[in-house]
Subunit: 311 residues, 3 copies
């Protein structure tokens, strides 16, 4: 196995092609083992993972905790880690991290403030995995998205990918765009309501790496062109005027009649939860890969836990 | 072992005599093993149970989680699953269930809305156990109640059983009545304040299966007649007028002086928690079986977990 | 191993010299094993610990749960045990304890009311460990404090110890004072703002056991004299007037310039969390032992869990 020289997983930018390949290779083995005999070739028996959640995010927490359990490790967990830093007691993140170093072997941290994972990593002797820090990073989500594409097409090179919905605030499409620059001949289509378009920083980054991108408003024109449609939820809380939200949310719905326009072997992704942007009628279409995508999160997290604890 | 052909445990009505016998037989073995050497003949090592609680019910959750742990399995748990369906994110129960299918081997679900377990079971490839859904079902409680009677008397046939207290809203006495129709020569006595009497649907059901039932107001007349007194808590939140509650709650108290009227080998049951309807002075009477009854919940849940995961 | 004849750990007063020696001896073995090969000579595989927290205290809970996991045991946990005794259901602590007896092998209880652990112990057939009950006891904290001193100096006899900060409300300094009377030639220095001085009951207790104690206001005069400086947090919630709090909290800060006055091999302790009373600049000084102290909690709790479950 290629050397895995990361100590913490804090942001997507840490992952170059080589690291991505190592993680995906181990994740594929995890998937193969669990889908097959159920017997894993790797074990984290005797290791303890601390779930340190400063805000609840049950889905992400479950995914990490299942990953650790599947590997035979154990878990201690809190969803109200904010208690540590509560007004009356007022402990710093540094102190909390150092104390956790004495208890656990690895920390999975969710925080409401961007930069928290990096801050914890600075003082931690045990690996930190960022499970989302505010408007900041959520690197394991970015990796599982990329892994899903790779797993479906046996490679990323040469694919056309449409990102649809809230591209402005959607953390996942931003991170995925970033990671896609590491692969050749990828083309991106951004389909978003006017108020939710992809930000310029990402566009500039794509330009720098010569990744062609196109802003489109005609959904039906894009669908036949692409190998992957990455749908996202329009987030109500981003809108001041309710009518604006309704208009934006209703603009790009991927119903069965739209799916029919897609290539036979294209895939539909969504980071979930979804609201109305993909109707349940689409779920049984073989192109719908969003539940598989969620499950891939398990394998990616198993791979990261294993690699970080067995360097 | 007789075939166990259930995929999910959603409601008491799923259990016919044959299924009940299988569950009780395995539960008895669990009890025997844990009370004896502590060495279990069954194992769920490597399996993961997800506790998906949309409302807290710590006692029920603990009982299930201990059951899974005793069998060597592991557990991921949340008491705020309602976050999944929160207004801002708005995920459907179907989606949550399908995602959980990718993580865990079995789901224990507690929900505030009747019918939720059935709804989840419709889309789930892994077993769902209903741990109570609103005013709906709580089938494992019904089974543990029945198992307690069977365990004490080595059979249910021919027993006289009094149900006392809140028979109108009490989910447990309703379900138990239902299950008792599957046994011969059982006689039921309903002792309840006027406002809490057993509903007509259950009475009609009993009639249909020719189970004799009697409504009584004279507690002391009933006590010497029965083999089992199933006490229940009058629920304050059911009453609009506080005085009505106090009158109802004070009407049928099973104190030591009442216990003295009972048969030597009769038993006292209660689904717990209790308030004042059984004073602590009764706890040391050998007829008091309510703590044993709670413990039987462990064995019933171990049996169900094992049977569902080893079909 | 000397006989360990405790059934429950409810209060510091239960521990005489002989018991302390047994606990510390096992805790040292735990520390040696985990710091070395990671292979433990003890195991609690198959045992279940119930964390019954009537109020959240994530740090303490994590410490106990890691202790149990490290020993190979499993854990069921709640931070809202108060639900058991909620107004609408109203279960007594006695009933909750008896029911838990049917599920778990040992109970770790945190409660908001003093005396709760003792109350639970009265009816429990399985061991209860008090993880703090209101203004009452927190015996495992007292033991880990004492263990830290012993571990640093290979003995307690003959040491001079300063306690600084909130000596009036600080549970830890009170309990530690109590335990220190069991060792010869210990001298205590109390350094506290006027409103937070050590209470007379402890002073009288020290007098009874002929432990010399001194009240000092001149921090810098005390520092060169002592082997251990035990800092505590001034608790804002104890003050009615904010200015009084600020004055008290600012009075005794152990900054790097103060640390320079201490003996070369002296140690700095703090029960954590800290606020401003020890600036982070001190953390790298080899005398700073507060994170080590927190980690010692793991070993002490492992030792207690093992000793209580293997009598």
């Amino acid at each position: 196995m290629t050397k895995f020289n990361l100590q913490h997983v804090v942001e997507s930018q840490q992952f170059d092609r080589e690291l991505i390949d190592v993680v995906f290779s181990v994740a594929s083995q995890m998937k193969e083992d669990l889908s097959g005999s159920g017997q894993l070739r790797y074990s984290l028996a005797g290791k303890i993972m601390a779930s340190l959640f400063y805000e609840p995010s049950t889905r992400t927490r479950f995914s990490f905790e299942c990953a650790m359990r599947r590997l035979g490790g154990s878990v201690i967990t809190t969803e109200n880690a904010r208690e540590f830093s509560s007004a009356s007691k007022g402990e710093s993140l540094h102190d909390t991290t150092r104390i956790m170093n004495g208890y656990a072997d690895i920390i999975v941290m969710r925080h409401n403030e961007a930069g928290s994972a990096e801050k914890a990593a600075q003082v931690s002797n045990i690996p930190i995995i960022n499970a989302g820090d505010g408007a900041g990073q959520h690197p394991t989500q970015a990796l599982l998205d990329l892994f899903t594409i790779q797993d479906c097409f046996q490679g990323i090179e040469g694919l056309n990918i449409a990102m649809v919905g809230d591209l402005k605030y959607g953390r996942t499409v931003r991170s995925l765009s970033y990671l896609l620059t590491k692969f050749d001949n990828v083309k991106l289509y951004f389909v978003a309501p006017t108020v939710c378009q992809m930000e310029n920083d990402i566009k500039a980054y794509l330009d720098k790496y010569q990744v062609p991108w196109f802003e489109e408003t005609d959904f039906e024109k894009v669908l036949p062109e692409v190998d992957c449609v990455y749908m996202t939820r329009i987030q109500k809380e981003r809108f001041n005027v309710y009518e604006d939200y309704v208009e934006a949310a209703g603009k790009y719905i991927l119903g069965p009649e739209n799916v029919r326009l897609m290539k036979e072997n294209a895939i539909i992704m969504h980071p979930l939860p979804r609201v109305d942007e993909i109707p349940p009628a689409v779920d049984d279409d073989p192109r719908a890969q969003y539940f598989e995508q969620a499950q891939n999160g398990l394998y990616i997290r198993m791979a990261l836990l294993y690699l970080l604890l067995h360097r």
